[in-house]
Amino acid sequence: MGILSLLILIPLAGAALLHFIKNENVAKYFTLAVSLLTFVISLVAYFQFDNKALGFQLQEHYDWISSKSVSISYFLGVDGMSILLVLLTTFLVVIGLIGTWNSITKNVPGLMALLLLLEAGMIGVFCSLDLFLFYIFWELILIPMYFIIGIWGGERRIYAAVKFFIYTLAGSLVMLVAIIWLGVEASKISGVFTTDLIKLTTLSRSLPLDTQNYLFWAFALSFAIKVPLFPLHTWLPDAHVEAPTIGSVILAGVLLKMGTYGMIRFNLGLFPQASIENASILCVLAVIGIIYGALVAIAQTDVKKLIAYSSVTHMGFIVLGIFSMTREGLQGAVIQMVNHGLSTGMLFMMFGMMYDRKHTRAISEYGGVAKITPVYATFFAIAMLSSVGLPGLNGFIGEYLTIMGAFLSPVLHSWWYSIFSATGVILAAVYLLWMYQRFMLGPITNESNRSIKDLSMREIVSVVPLVIFMIWIGIKPMTFLKTSESGAYTLSNSLLGVAPEKTNDFQIVQPQVIIK
Amino acid sequence: MAEAVFYILAAGAIASAILMVTRKSAVPSALSLVLTFCFLAGIYLTLKAQFLAVIQVAVYAGAIMVLVLFVIMLLNLQKEKFAITSNWKTLLGVLCVCLILAQIASVIILTQQKFPGQLSDQATELGTVESVGTMLYQSYAFPFELASLVLIVSAVGAIVLAKKKLT
């Protein structure tokens, strides 16, 4: 059995074993052990991964459903982009677990089992190289997340859970149709119905452009809902607000990335021509999302909702980067996925810590808390600044590269995408700083807040690794960008190989300048 | 001659069928239906299906309708006030039935040239007790056995549903 299977199976087995554990503490430590083990194995996978090699590595291939005319297989493999996301997943699960150790008191073993199930599903999504397998993991994630929101969530948890489920299901079923359609088209060409990503990558290019477009949009719709792209985002604030902290962390940290990951892997990978044709539409939506999410975030009075809308903005950058199809854009998108996972994950987790103490999400209930909990305020500020996109921290690298990617993109025929998206940096400062001010600064308006305790050692332990990574990516991003480089460059080259010439807003002769 | 007989029988069958569905009370309806069955048996005869004509009378008119009448009497239904529903839904239904009739009839008329013009040569032979019986007990013995299953089911069912007291 390969290492990737192991990564999926260990959490699955853990989830199964949790059914026999009734004691809450035992369940927690057991889950921590399992997720740590998974994390270690993912690190091993990361070190086995060869940055320089092309194509998918650590492949595993077993026939699953196969006959004369059908070939569906259990096919795993990673490239640089997916291995980073796998690492992010395993890392965030551990961190999230430590960070929310005492938040949940109700039916702990159940939550732990669902969490591990979720982890297995997420790793599966990022490792699948067979569309059918991918779809199964994709949908598998719905169930645990649905329960996590529905059982451990806030007041409107049922509404949020059902909305999350149906919304996502709607998108993914459309994708299912597309997967089947693609397989059927493939079978017309090669005689075998297949969902093998690598085979389909070559086959899909010979499809008629109409079909490519339909398929492209079916995939795009599904991913756009998951991302979420404006105007399909309204499930997100509800889900985030109602989910328990650990749910929000995983939802923001990893689940949303499944959408953008899908866009890279399937939309760009399978339908290069359709991608180029439709890139501008998706980018327009992404840019609207960037601005819209930020503006709406300004209006929020609920911390979690605000962070949720900030996710809409950040994910917009990722989509913009992806559909710029340039090296800069794709690399930026990949690193931005990691960044968003870290910083928004941390914001949710840290707010969860405050919520555990105070049990309210309304910003107005806080104010001046920095005076009482200086350590908390410091860490929260770092997470906030990372989210604002301050150079030197991780958020900037991603946003910057995606904006530059959009500037340089030969498929987007205008600079306005980048210029409008760059206004996102202004608005991010507006809503986040304002939130921070109302939340943390100023005089202590609520006397009962004086009794709030500062972070405990456990909580500090859970956030410090996140901060380390934020600074690491901010200052030495190439550690991670090198990993995804070959994947992103190959994809960009293959896409832009079929792209038309760029026409700019401003006619510029581009001299070759080499300066030493 | 045979033609005239057919038309008379057909007219009788249709007329008695109409009587059947329009009688307010159940017993006249049932009697009209018996009449229809008899007319139909006559029509079978014009088709030279003697065997079926005989059992049509025996089984339908004789057995089934007697059973029905028996139940009607048992339940004392002859005096019931309700008979016919007439609301727009029913009217719509009846209209649709007429449409179905028109559709089928028009298709039949449209394509009648393609039908065989007369009874097949073996018709007389096919309709006899002997040939039907041979067929039933030789080639169709299997479904014949299966038919017994249907009857068993109905017997068990009748017992289950209508037996006065269960253990």
């Binding site: 196969s66 529905g150 149709v177 | 089928i104 299997f142 479904p143 549903l161 253990t167």
Partner: protein, 487 residues
């Protein structure tokens, strides 16, 4: 009547014999006992054994072309026998305490299963008709099994009247097809259709199409497809719960088996010879689409779980009709897989409803399921799996079945039908989720946890759940046993 004929019919013979044994036992036994259930289960296992052994032998049309025995028919025979076993297990608790004849119940289920086998294996329209009637008449009675309850009576009468009405059309259809082809032998009809020349051309393709249409009406009625579905909610609600489970699964499956044999094999064999085939395809597709949409939409507003499941069964008839409408081999595979899977899901769901109904004094409202996860965690878990599977969420088998059906539709060039399927699935997820919401997210009226005792019904539903998971993860199990039917 040769030896091969008898071997081919062996499952049917065993099953019928089982029925008679039950009747005889019942006639001589004084007090109610579980023996008929045991006999039923033993007999059904024997049937499965016979069918499994028949599966691998050479396909034959026994009794001079009246009765098929091949992979396809034996596969369905196994499904029917399995459903008899499952419903017997579920009946173990359910039937006792009510004034009914257990023997009668067992015999009728067994006879109904005989009818189903005839329906699926009939190589001649006469046998098909007899099978349909054997099954239907058994169902009429079964629906009215609780004869002292008005709802059961009503269910029975409604089913009977409408069923007989639909039978009239079905029979008319047979007559017209017979008139146009001059034969009732399916292989002969197939030959004529494939030749595409003689009788149909010389007679009337229109009349033939109307005949087909009437057959569609008759079978659609049995599978409860829109607009011939209206009996289903009333009947399933009024009938005893386990009977509803049996009728809505095995009965439907049998009708779909007949659909496959009649349409894909005989009436409109592939490749399509006539222009009329496309029309029939569209008719079937439209029925499928309407059934899916109607069933799922109306299910949303239901407050009674049995009724909700009934509407869901209408929708599932729609999904299955996609496979029929596709008229291709993927459709056959899809229908076969999905009817097997659907049978497991639906019978399991009705089974749990029956268990809870029995324990909690007719708790049949959806609201009675509030907080079930606390009271009965295992039952809730099983029901949740069933709901997810019904909703078509992987990795449960319901998903895989749907997958194949959509595959068939797209393969047949009907992407729109797949999309309608998708839309209705989205709608459906709402009410399936609602059951889960109730069980897991809402608080119970009374909260005490009940420890689960192993009982026959529990074994049945647990088996169903495990099977759904296994088949979902490894659908090849089903696919390989199906093989290629009509090649």
């Amino acid at each position: 009547m040769s030896k091969t004929d008898l071997i081919a019919a062996l499952p049917l013979i065993i099953l019928a014999t089982t029925g008679f044994v039950i009747l005889i036992w019942d006639a001589f036994s004084k007090k109610p006992s579980r023996a008929p259930l045991a006999i039923t289960i033993i007999g059904s296992i024997a049937v499965i054994a016979a069918a499994v052994s028949n599966m691998s032998s050479t396909p034959v049309a026994a009794f001079g072309g009246l009765f098929f025995s091949n992979t396809f028919t034996n596969f369905f025979t196994i499904i029917f026998a399995a459903s008899v076993i499952l419903s017997s297990l579920l009946a173990e608790k359910y039937l006792f305490g009510k004034e009914i004849i257990v023997g009668g119940y067992c015999a009728l289920t067994v006879f109904a299963a005989c009818g189903m086998i005839m329906l699926a294996s009939g190589a001649n329209l006469i046998v098909t008709f007899l099978g349909l009637e054997t099954m239907s008449i058994s169902f009429y009675v079964l629906a009215g099994l609780f004869r002292t309850e008005e709802s059961s009576n009503e269910s029975s009468l409604k089913y009977f009247l409408l069923g007989a009405f639909a039978t009239g059309f079905f029979l008319y259809g047979i007559a017209l097809v017979y008139g146009c082809t001059g034969t009732m032998n399916l292989s002969d009809i197939r030959g004529i259709m494939l030749a595409g020349a003689k009788p149909v051309a010389s007679y009337s393709s229109l009349l033939y199409l109307i005949g087909i249409l009437f057959i569609i009406v008759g079978l659609s009625f049995k599978v409860a497809a829109f607009p011939f579905h209206q009996w289903a909610p009333d009947v399933y609600e009024g009938a005893p719960t386990i009977v509803s489970g049996f009728m809505s699964t095995a009965g439907k499956t049998a009708a779909f088996a007949a659909f496959l044999v009649l349409f894909n094999y005989a009436l409109i064999p592939n490749p399509h010879p006539q222009g009329g085939a496309e029309k029939i395809q569209i008719v079937l597709a439209v029925l499928a689409a309407l059934s899916m949409l109607y069933g799922n939409i109306v299910a949303i507003a239901q407050t009674k779980i049995k009724r909700m499941l009934a509407y869901s069964s209408i929708a599932h008839a729609g999904y299955l009709l996609i496979g029929i409408a596709s008229l291709n081999s993927n459709g056959i595979t899809g229908v076969t897989i999905y009817s097997a899977v659907y049978l497991l899901m639906q019978i399991g769901a009705f089974g749990i409803v029956g268990m809870l109904e029995k324990e909690n004094a007719n708790a049949l409202d959806l609201d009675d399921y509030a907080g079930l996860a606390k009271r009965r965690p295992w039952l809730a878990l099983i029901l949740a799996v069933l709901m997810f599977s019904l909703a078509g969420i992987p990795p449960f088998a319901g998903f895989f079945g749907k997958y194949y059906l959509f595959l068939a539709a797209i393969d047949a060039g009907m992407v729109w039908l797949a999309i309608v399927g998708v839309i209705s699935s989205i709608i459906a997820s709402y009410f399936y989720l609602r059951v889960i919401v109730l069980m897991y997210f809402r608080d119970a009226k009374h909260d005490e946890a009940v420890s689960e005792k192993i009982s026959a019904p529990l074994v049945a539903v647990a088996f169903v759940t495990v099977a759904l998971l296994v088949l979902g993860l490894y659908p090849s199990l089903l696919l390989h046993s199906i093989g290629y039917f009509f090649q």
